[in-house]
Symmetry: C2
Amino acid sequence: MNDIFEKITSLAKRRGFVYPGSEIYGGLGGFYDFGPLGVELKFNIKQAWWRDVVQFRDDVVGLSAAIIMNPKVWEASGHVSGFSDSFLECTKCRKRFKIEELEQEKEKKFICASCGEIFEGKVRKFNLMFKTSIGSTEDSASVAYLRPETAGGIFVNFKNVLDTMRVKIPFGIAQIGKAFRNEINPKDFIFRTREFEQMELEYFVKPGEDEKYFEEWLERRLEWYRSIGLKNIRTYEQAKEERAHYSKRTVDIEYKFPFGWQEIEGIANRGDFDLKAHIKVSGIDLSYFDEEKKEKFIPYVIEPSAGVERIALALLCDVYHEEELDSGDKRIVLKLHPKLAPYKIAIFPLLANKEKLVELARRVFNKLKEEWFCAWDDRGNIGKRYRAQDEIGTPYCVTIDFDSLEKDDVTVRDRDTMKQERIKIKDLKDYFSKFL
Amino acid sequence: MNDIFEKITSLAKRRGFVYPGSEIYGGLGGFYDFGPLGVELKFNIKQAWWRDVVQFRDDVVGLSAAIIMNPKVWEASGHVSGFSDSFLECTKCRKRFKIEELEQEKEKKFICASCGEIFEGKVRKFNLMFKTSIGSTEDSASVAYLRPETAGGIFVNFKNVLDTMRVKIPFGIAQIGKAFRNEINPKDFIFRTREFEQMELEYFVKPGEDEKYFEEWLERRLEWYRSIGLKNIRTYEQAKEERAHYSKRTVDIEYKFPFGWQEIEGIANRGDFDLKAHIKVSGIDLSYFDEEKKEKFIPYVIEPSAGVERIALALLCDVYHEEELDSGDKRIVLKLHPKLAPYKIAIFPLLANKEKLVELARRVFNKLKEEWFCAWDDRGNIGKRYRAQDEIGTPYCVTIDFDSLEKDDVTVRDRDTMKQERIKIKDLKDYFSKFL
């Protein structure tokens, strides 16, 4: 497992998907920077989600709340008092672990997973929220937190949306944005980090209809993963004792990572826990009034909550292939769904020093990039350029050669089949429109 | 001025563009939440920028660095020691002001702009960066900052991009993301906030070619504002004493807000200040080697840096119109460029209780939303629905009426001209493709 995961993380760094955060300063644990390819991949994932969850429906609206909210939001939600982790520190090497990460010896002694020391456990707690302060001098500043999840911003704006968007139950509010957790042990590359991006939907329903909509959203989300080509997923139904205290039901969507099955999305029936908590602390009425039935109630909420980086990592693992070619060479290819691929088409002038070839290739490039994000590559032999594009998942390569100058056609090469076709330049847009 | 600005901010809240942050908890100064319409407007601005600055070029790549970086990044950039504001506190009402906000009396006395008290000035300094700490207990935690600008993430990744993307000078790295500043007096609605989103490009050039590229980017950025239909802008050349110490030249692009001409973007020639500073503190060689000319140098950088919320606010102000209709009624209309409008098309079944009308309208809606983000409205009379869509800038409204059932055509109404046309349902996609 380590071998393949190492290959994937190494490719991610080498080809500009993911860089360690602040690398020239020795990095910063749990923080990553997304390079030119990674930012496009993440953007394409987010856009596919937003289209499916918001724009293709007429019962979901979007939102983008601030990362820093009034601290009362997190008092009401229970995060200030309860969003904490317990940890143990090895008395010898000072490394810290969650309890479940350590093997226990008798009499409350633990075996350090790093140095092997057997030490007496002294469990300490700490809140996972990053704290900061607002205001102009420290003495008068007020404490605030970086949001540990985006959902809070949605509940706090429930009434605003109700008052301004003329929505009717059932309806949803969706949000994509960063969240922060001061994890004890960030790990598994971009799987568990301290700064990450969430895609969350809170879908408000009438109590009693919650189970029906839970099923609908679970099916819809699985369908979405199928639509972006992610295989190797399964659902995991959380047992009562695993669920958060407010959850009536939670199903995780898990991906089979090289380091094991892990959650990439959770779908929870949160009941009316959140709205009730905010009603209690804010004193504002957050109930819903059904005009037709003249009924007032506090909606239940179904929450599909997914992690952007986790999906990106799952995709990288899922589409990574090493293939033996007829020539005996090996190629690495990312078989990303075309709508997720950073570049859709790569344009190659056969030779970089032939002005006429480059000029025609430029024209093809300029024409295609009106519609799709295209790469330009004029270095090395064509075989090497194919390998380079395969490695970053570009679905099509277009080569402009000497024949192109006479016949106004080009070679289009398919990433997955490696088949090549000659296509007239004037037909290229129609040709690609069928696939992209 | 206050009248028109109040109308615009009120529309922004009433129609779901902008809500005060954490409103049910009494808000949080300097923080705003973007509602269903605002999130689409901001997204469309960011996408238009990204397409123009990254995807339509082959010399600029994207990046998305973490908000929390190694604190050494901000030591090197000078933010830890120098990114501070001076303020004065009124001894009576305790309100705080920047020095330039107060009128000065003789003998270092100031007149409070809030309560009028004349008080003795005691200038205090504080750093504008939000501080937090990383790690599992406060005693061992290390200080970190929320980035005060996105540019830092770009300079720190200069070498990563150079090593993995095969870019050649001149080339740029672009980034869109949140930044945070602990402003003393956030003001003017979403113009000066504590959490905001930046669109920054660092364009690396050979020293000596910096002035030429400065001119190119200034022109290109002005052209971009024209392309999104923003009028009432001007450039402002900063005098030497106004510029940051490292800047060889700075030109602001200003918009004529109801509260005065204010910067929405700054274009700066930062020379080699940033790369040199990071070389010094990190000890890593960040110079560029020109393979062809066998020359090694530290690039200069041209930085166009724009604020997403500032552009959004400028747009709202710019496209807000009140028009007297022939009927004597008044209409409010946002004449947003179609590519920025949150909804592109609104679909109206003439009557909500006629099943056949609704069914046909649904079909039109489902067909059009494959291509464009569409609104659905079946409430009230058609005139009111037009007014409602005008107010949020929807370029086209499509009404399905009884004639539609027989003739398979619909009424398409243009937001700006208010002219109506009958269009066959099968031709709708082609029709709108011309405009959207």
